[in-house]
Symmetry: C2
Subunit: 428 residues, 2 copies
């Protein structure tokens, strides 16, 4: 038996599929026109409202039971880390072989195949960081060959406010956006037409649990108490629109048409075994300023999460091919940690709220194959990449389907797979 693992009585739950008893990600499902919260185990959902109704959560404060009966996780996120920990303990016990509630819980399971998964959070804010040095440098090389990395990068966890209204659940189609594009010849008018440079961005997003009051920063030492979980996020980007609009105030319409997230939020508690030290700084790199520096964070503030992008096309699906790998990386190489993001974001007093998404920005590694977006892989569309089925892509085409996947794998520990984040490009 694997170290630290328990077995579950749920059918198939102990297979190495990444959704075992050690994981229990939170989600929301629709069935019979009702939306309810759940945790996933194997190919089953444990219905949290039913848990409340059947008295499994009697030991909890009414506010927590009420939070479990809502249609989004936001109230549970606001309940704070003690409530999350206690709930996870009870749900784990209930699903384990020693579960005190096997008989009751048997009634509480819903087959994954029978439901529609929906966005489990109502994100009020969506912040996108730029935490991969390799991404920042490679993008910088395209646009500023002489000065790829700006002087602030190694001091400031750079970020911008994304658009929260267009955050959508995995599986929702993404319509190719229209937009203004830079005139090829400076003397002509720009054009307004469907983007011809549609891209994905492979990211993780940390989900804020308890927020902070306006004017009261969260110290880096306390940051972890404010993070509930992590999910995969695809920050779809129209590179032609972005290139023409982004000076001087940053990305806007090149991003705000859609941002897809996985329907599953993996609790931070499930990732404790996959914490690692952040990537070592290079010789001569500056020490982070004190408000971004914490011993524990330096020791295990990063996460060993393998991430990958797969692409299927109309042709590949017609040929019966599985989604084709396009790039593969690991979140442990990010320059900034989740705790540094929280501390920086709130350092000016800005308030975070439950359900806010703090995304990493594109996760790219040092090798070109580990670049997390086509902008890098194709050098801004100049060098199209060959897909395993013989097709080529400079940018995404209509009918393409992009899947983000993520695995936590470590000798002696049960595998964890983050919920897949899928989006299908439909025509403008």
């Amino acid at each position: 038996m694997t170290k630290g693992s328990m077995l579950s009585w749920v059918d198939g739950a102990n297979e190495p599929h990444g959704f075992g008893l050690n994981h229990l990600p939170y989600g929301a499902f629709r069935k019979d026109d009702v939306t309810r919260l759940c945790v996933r185990i194997g190919d089953w959902l444990l219905d949290l409202e039913a848990c409340v109704r059947h008295g499994l959560l009697e030991g909890f404060a009414p506010s927590v039971r009420d939070a479990c009966s809502q249609s989004t996780l936001n109230d549970l996120l606001a309940a704070g880390p003690e409530a999350w920990q206690a709930l996870r303990a009870v749900l784990t016990a209930c699903l384990s072989d020693d579960g005190y509630a096997r008989t009751a819980a048997d009634w509480l399971l819903v087959p994954l195949s029978e439901v529609e998964l929906v966005l489990p959070i109502d994100p009020r804010g969506y912040t996108d960081f730029y935490a991969s040095l390799h991404h920042a440098r490679r993008v910088g090389e395209l646009f500023r060959p002489d000065n790829p990395l700006l002087p602030n990068y190694k001091h400031v966890p750079i970020a911008y406010n994304g658009r929260a209204s267009s955050v959508i659940a995995s599986g929702t189609s993404v319509r190719r956006p229209w937009g203004q594009r830079r005139p090829a010849n400076q003397e002509t008018q720009p054009t307004f037409e469907p983007s011809a440079a549609l891209d994905y961005e492979l990211e993780l997003a940390f989900v804020v649990g308890q927020g902070n009051a306006l004017g009261e920063p969260i110290s880096i030492a306390n940051a972890h108490e404010h993070l509930f979980g992590v999910t995969l996020l695809n920050d779809w980007s129209a590179r032609d629109v972005q290139a023409w609009e982004y000076q001087p105030l940053g990305p806007f319409l090149g991003k705000s048409f859609a941002t897809s997230v996985s329907p599953w939020i993996t609790p931070m508690a499930a990732l404790e075994s996959f914490r690692v030290a952040p990537a070592a700084r290079a010789q001569g790199d500056p020490q982070p300023l004190p408000y971004l520096l914490d011993d524990a964070d330096q020791q295990h503030g990063a996460f060993d999460i393998q991430v990958e992008v797969l692409l299927s096309t109309e042709a590949s699906r017609a040929a019966g091919l599985a989604p084709m790998p396009v790039s593969r990386g690991n979140a442990r190489g990010l320059y900034w940690t989740a705790a540094q993001m929280v501390a920086h974001h709130t350092s000016n007093g800005c308030n975070l709220r439950p359900g806010d998404l703090l995304a990493t920005g594109t996760i790219s590694g040092p090798e070109r194959a580990s670049a997390g977006c086509l902008l890098e892989l194709t050098r801004n569309g100049a060098e199209s990449i060959a897909l395993p089925n013989g097709e080529h892509r400079a940018w995404l085409q209509d009918g393409d389907e992009v899947s983000l996947r993520a695995l936590c794998r470590r000798e002696g520990f049960l595998l964890i797979e983050l919920g897949e984040c899928v989006g299908h490009i439909s025509e403008a």
Copy 2:
């Protein structure tokens, strides 16, 4: 009697104070620990929940009556332009000399002096445009003397996503933010300390009423149906933080510590008499692209709203002086109209939601005295301005209080004053 005006029976309501029967801005007030919606007339509030309770809104759909009984305007915003128009007609009748409900309404008024005003909307999104050409050019001259206006400016209504969580009501103190500042000498570490370059920005914000579904742009011809009202907005800015952080993804912590808005939302219906043609384009300026071009918008898509900034300091208040004017301009000179902002924002399919704020960006005129922020007035702090009481300011100091005011004045029409937007700087 002034053209088109009616008289109100409410005490003092017919004085030329800008809050007459022709205005009726919406707000929210707290009294006895309850928050309720209202419209303002003179120094009185008409309590909308009480109107519902006393049967004044019997002709309305239950959803509208319910919307009037909430603690924010969001549901009423979502109800759409026909509901707004009908409600305004009934409230106007109720408060006019011919009011059918004078006796009942007499019970429904609350003195302004007895309540606390709170934010009447729950903004899910806050977008800040850059609609003043004069602002963009003057700021550009400071940082790019050879190339002050970027090539996209006259084609693209430039904007960025602001931070909605820190939008606060007028009167809430603004704590000076801490932040990273650019090293004076590139070889030293940046510092983290309270901002030494705190600024205001004089802006209007249009409040979105009905939103749009993701993927369904709002045409410029229909844009006005989606705007409920307008309010004053102060986009507080820490210029030193902003200068160091904003490349390449735009403003973030330099702005997100606080954004103040007036407690009063002036309905667009009250501003119809103050519509004017947008500022004429200069010789050689490009024609807007078709999605930004509409005949009606070209004829009267701008608003003749005089805006001004007043400053009081600890010393000026101690001397019993009134707030001192610092700058004065007019929103009619903006390069982009509200309808163009809506059409552009949604042109890629991005969805707007009820209560979203679309702010103009700093409203600056061609003369330096009409610049709407200290960054322009003091040339990035290099030339401090003299206040009427003999003090000088390069940037805001602790204890300073900034008031934004706005007036609509037109021969033959009753004055309208937008609700004041005030913020007091407290120490870091």
